[in-house]
């Protein structure tokens, strides 16, 4: 079964609003990563948070990690139309070979 599950599956907002996406996972992890995928293209790495970190920022992105709840959230502030994409969380499972396991993704639509 899939390690990560994103919520919501789809999100539609207006430019300037904030977008929050959540990810839950099942087993202990080394780190959790967020990626963006524009339609039909490859994925772009956004941010990585280690299992001993609780919050991380990168530009307009803020990621939190709660290992007790096995969950993470990605916040995009002041969204732009160019942020329209699918967002995936991915985990590196503790103790396993260090390959990434992806969730199903959240499709974000930002309207002008």
């Amino acid at each position: 079964s899939q390690q990560g599950e994103e919520d919501p599956q789809a999100l539609s907002i207006q430019e300037g609003e904030n977008a929050t996406m959540n990810c839950s996972y099942k087993t202990s992890i080394n780190n959790l990563q967020w990626y963006r995928q524009n339609s039909g293209r490859g994925l772009v790495h956004l941010i990585l948070i280690r299992s001993n970190e609780r919050e991380k920022h990168s530009g307009r992105l803020r990621v939190t990690l709660d290992t007790s709840k096995k969950s993470s959230s990605l916040l995009i502030t002041a969204s732009r139309a160019a942020d329209t994409a699918s967002y995936f969380c991915a985990t590196v499972v503790r103790g396993r070979y260090s390959t990434l396991t992806f969730g199903k993704g959240t499709m974000l639509l930002v309207s002008p």
């Binding site: 780190n31 990563q33 293209r41 490859g42 990434l100 992806f102 969730g103």
Partner: protein
């Protein structure tokens, strides 16, 4: 700017044909990966490699095979393509040491078998 290149970008091919999807990276990464993704769905790991002459199967069973003769090159081959192989194939690479690094992905090959 992507430093990992996949060719072709799109491929439409008939059933039974042999195909090779190319993946090359210029970053000197030892670790490389192939993922399969159906439209609107999650990515599934089908093959990975930790270095030259090292290849392993991933979580999703695949009829494809891979080779790693050079560090920068990680091609994927289907000996006899079938419609069930229609999908997007994404190649990625990552730093050699440890697991606290993000992956760099290519733009993908969208394969259609008719």
């Amino acid at each position: 700017e992507a430093d990992i290149y996949q060719t072709p970008r799109y491929l439409v091919i008939g059933t039974g044909k042999k195909i090779t999807l190319e993946c090359s990276q210029t970053m000197g990464h030892d670790k490389m990966y192939w993922y399969q993704q159906d439209p609107g769905m999650e990515l599934h790991l089908i093959h990975y490699s930790y270095g030259v002459n090292s290849t392993e199967k991933g979580d999703l069973s695949s009829e494809s095979t891979v080779s790693r003769i050079r560090t920068e090159h990680f091609p994927l081959t289907l000996e006899s393509a079938r419609p069930s192989h229609t999908s997007q194939y994404l190649c990625a690479s990552s730093e050699s040491v440890g697991s606290n690094y993000g992956y760099t992905f290519g733009s993908g090959t969208r394969l259609t078998v008719v």
